[in-house]
């Protein structure tokens, strides 16, 4: 079997959040809004809990990009979730640079529980950007 990454389609690891962005991603499927099969989601409770080491590990192992589908302003846990997740992204990008990985391979966006269209357009756009990084 060929690996999804070997056919030139960038593989994206998405960290979603159980209560907010994961239902949004579910809705994209329910509405049959197509996106690439090279997009794979790992749901977490909240985007403030993503560890920079996970992202560096994923990118070193073979994912071409990582996307944090953050709770945004809808977070049920933290009113400053976006600020915290943003700070994590900055820290992660610094760590990525240390490992010789372009910081452009990490993206974050708040994604609400009904943001199905948004998710699909983020994935399409990010894949394009990752392609141009590799060309």
């Amino acid at each position: 079997m060929s690996s999804p990454g070997s056919n030139g389609i960038p593989k994206i690891l998405v960290f979603s959040t159980n209560a907010i962005s994961d239902p949004g991603i579910d809705l994209a499927g329910s509405a049959h809004l197509h996106y690439s099969t090279a997009v794979q989601v790992i749901p977490l409770p909240c985007s403030s809990g993503v560890k920079p080491s996970w992202i560096v590990h994923a990118l070193k192992r073979g994912f071409d990009g990582a996307f944090i589908a953050a709770c945004g302003g809808d977070c049920a846990y933290l009113s400053d979730c976006t600020t915290r997740t943003g700070a994590l992204v900055t820290r992660t990008q610094a760590l990525m640079k240390e490992h010789g990985i372009s910081p452009k391979r990490l993206k974050m966006s708040g994604l609400c529980s009904v943001c199905a269209d948004n998710f699909v357009s983020h994935m399409n756009k990010f894949q394009q950007e990752l392609k141009s990084l590799d060309s």
Partner: protein, 583 residues
């Protein structure tokens, strides 16, 4: 690892929803090679009683210590399979759910090879996570015996009365100046000829007499915090004063907005073209003959399905594709009321009912039968050639092809055209921002599952009922309100709810008490304790929400969230890339 795991993997066809787009057999076979997998097979429906029983038997017989279910979104059946695991004697937290439908088959229809590959990767990640699970016990918290009902229409009022009858305290928040909703303006309602304002007055009297119910009008829910069983709701009264309410659950019954026809749609805007509601008000206005602009009405044409069952087109870019459910009955019931008016007034009025399909289902059929017996003439039109309304000789003319008369084009001279307008989703940005209940494409609030969890939402402790959820007639609205009552009562009368034990855990060997986790925690769920001769952080289980904000800030990498432990996420990443790494 201490011992080899014995994991069962069950891939669901979902009756074709998954297997039409993912080769589930290939997924099941691929998973047999994963370490720790003892069984890997498919079922037509993992959630069916028969499949569950098979899995329970197999878990017991094969002494499985891990379970991976690859089927629909975990929002749907996580609790189904947790309960199943418990029945099989397996700790429910050693079961891992893989989303093979919403996040695989449905998103990748038309790419079976790609979707199958992805399905294998997703399921491998699930197995990798499962292999690192250990038994956990739920945390129990007390629930508050109070409920907030949003919207004081018939559904909301009925729900409030029943909840109060269970011994719960109820706050009703109504945005308008008056309670009652649409029923208070409905006049006589079919099928049983109840008078709307009287129905509302009866409910209101019960509410006013009930010591457990407080009704706020001109009030809006503006903020919500907390969690299932213990919410704090902020309600703004008359736009100026805030009250804070501590409730265990929220029931949303905010109703619908009637469809407003587009200019020119079935003659809308022309004199004599009215909605069913307008017509009924004219009919019930009282004495003397039925007139329009001073001229006695001799002929009335009713057009059904206005704003419902639409198809996308140039004039209708965002169609309401659904049936509004109440309009056929309400319009056919109006036929009998008009007939009754004829008998009482002596005024002869011909009535023509132009319909697509008569959906007076179930017992409502009698309403349609009565309408025909009362002299209403039913003509069926084809949606490809809808009726046209024109002005002609100072009256209105409806041109319609009657499909039951071999598509003969008829021209009906009428004095009134009555449009049976449907229901649309109510716009309420403030509420949507506060509650964040997922909406369907049509804008109505979405239940978790139309059949299995019809009044629960993705937000735990928040229930929906009535037409806020989708078009319903009044009986159906009340039925769903009472369903929400039962779910709410079941939650709050028990007095406690089990919360996920998926919370933070600190590795005291690594911890050196630097204070970073305490600073990151908004819940005060961290305390400093002495462990042997060193100070370390400890998690207060009942306060920890498990969101994980403390995890990435720990300089010692000493914190994990149960269910999302560092080694589990790393293993999931590796498992997702297995083909790539092996290649």
């Amino acid at each position: 690892m201490a011992h080899k795991r014995r994991i069962g993997v069950y891939i669901c066809h979902c009756g074709g929803n998954i297997s039409d787009h993912v080769n589930v057999k290939e997924v099941a076979e691929a998973l047999l090679d994963e370490p720790g997998v003892e069984i890997s097979r498919t079922h037509m429906f993992n959630c069916s009683d028969a499949s569950q029983q098979e899995m329970v038997d197999e878990i017991k017989e094969e002494n499985l210590d891990g379970l991976v279910i690859a089927s629909c979104s975990p929002k749907l059946h996580l609790f189904t399979f947790r309960a199943m695991a418990e029945r099989a004697g397996l700790n429910p937290y050693q079961y891992v759910h893989v989303n093979l439908r919403e996040q695989c088959s449905w998103a990748h229809t038309g790419d079976k090879v790609g979707a199958t590959e992805k399905g294998i990767n997703l399921t491998r990640a699930g197995v990798a996570k499962c292999a690192l699970t250990h038994p956990l016990t739920a945390i129990r918290i007390e629930t508050q015996p109070r409920v907030l009902v949003v919207g004081a229409g018939v559904a909301g009022m009925r729900a409030a009365i029943s909840l109060a009858g269970m011994g719960l305290s109820v706050f009703i928040v109504e945005r308008g100046n008056e309670p009652g909703g649409w029923a208070s303006q409905a006049g006589r309602m079919g099928p049983d000829d109840r008078y709307g304002p009287e129905v509302v007055a009866n409910l209101l009297a019960q509410i006013r007499n009930h010591e457990n119910i407080i009704l706020y009008t001109s009030a809006e829910l503006t903020a919500k915090s907390g969690h299932i069983g213990d919410f704090t709701a902020t309600v703004r009264l008359r736009g100026e004063e805030d009250v804070s309410l501590n409730v265990g659950a929220i029931v949303v019954t905010t109703g619908f907005t009637p469809y407003e026809p587009e200019d020119g749609e079935y003659g809308w805007g022309k004199p004599g073209v009215v909605t069913l509601k307008d017509f009924r008000q004219m009919l019930e206005a009282g004495d003397g003959p039925l007139t329009y602009n001073g001229i006695p009405v001799r002929d009335v044409g009713f057009i059904y399905c206005v704003g419902s069952r639409q198809t996308k087109g140039d004039t209708c870019p965002e169609p309401n594709t659904y049936c509004s459910r109440f309009c056929c009955m309400a319009t056919a019931f109006s036929a009998s009321l008009l007939h009754e008016f004829e008998k009482e007034s002596g005024q002869t009025i011909n009535q023509y009912h132009l319909y697509r399909d008569v959906r007076t289902y179930g017992h409502l059929e009698a309403v349609y039968t009565n309408a025909r017996a009362d002299g209403a003439l039913f003509l069926r039109w084809d949606p490809k050639e809808p009726p046209r309304v024109e002005q002609s000789n100072g009256r209105l003319a409806i041109k319609v092809k009657d499909t039951l008369l071999g598509d003969e084009e008829l021209e009906l001279g009428v004095d009134l055209v009555v449009l049976a307008t449907g229901m649309t989703a109510r716009k309420n940005d403030t509420l949507n921002n506060v509650l964040k209940i997922p909406e369907s494409k049509d804008g109505f609030y979405n239940e978790i599952h139309i059949k299995l969890r019809p009044v629960e939402t993705a937000i735990d402790g928040v229930f929906i009922a009535g037409t806020a959820q989708g078009p319903k007639n009044l009986a159906e609205s009340v039925a769903s309100a009472l369903a929400a009552v039962v779910k709410t009562g079941g939650l709050l009368k028990k007095g406690y709810v089990n919360l996920e034990p998926l919370i933070a855990e600190i590795d005291t060997d690594k911890c050196v008490w630097c204070n970073e986790c305490l600073k990151a925690c908004p819940y005060g769920a961290i305390e400093r304790v002495l462990c042997g001769d060193k100070e370390v952080a400890m998690v207060i289980d009942s306060s920890c929400k498990g969101e994980g904000a403390c995890v990435p800030v720990c300089p010692q990498d000493a914190i994990d969230i149960e269910g999302f432990r560092d080694n589990q996420i790393m293993a999931m990443i590796d498992a997702s890339l297995k083909e790539l790494v092996a290649a």
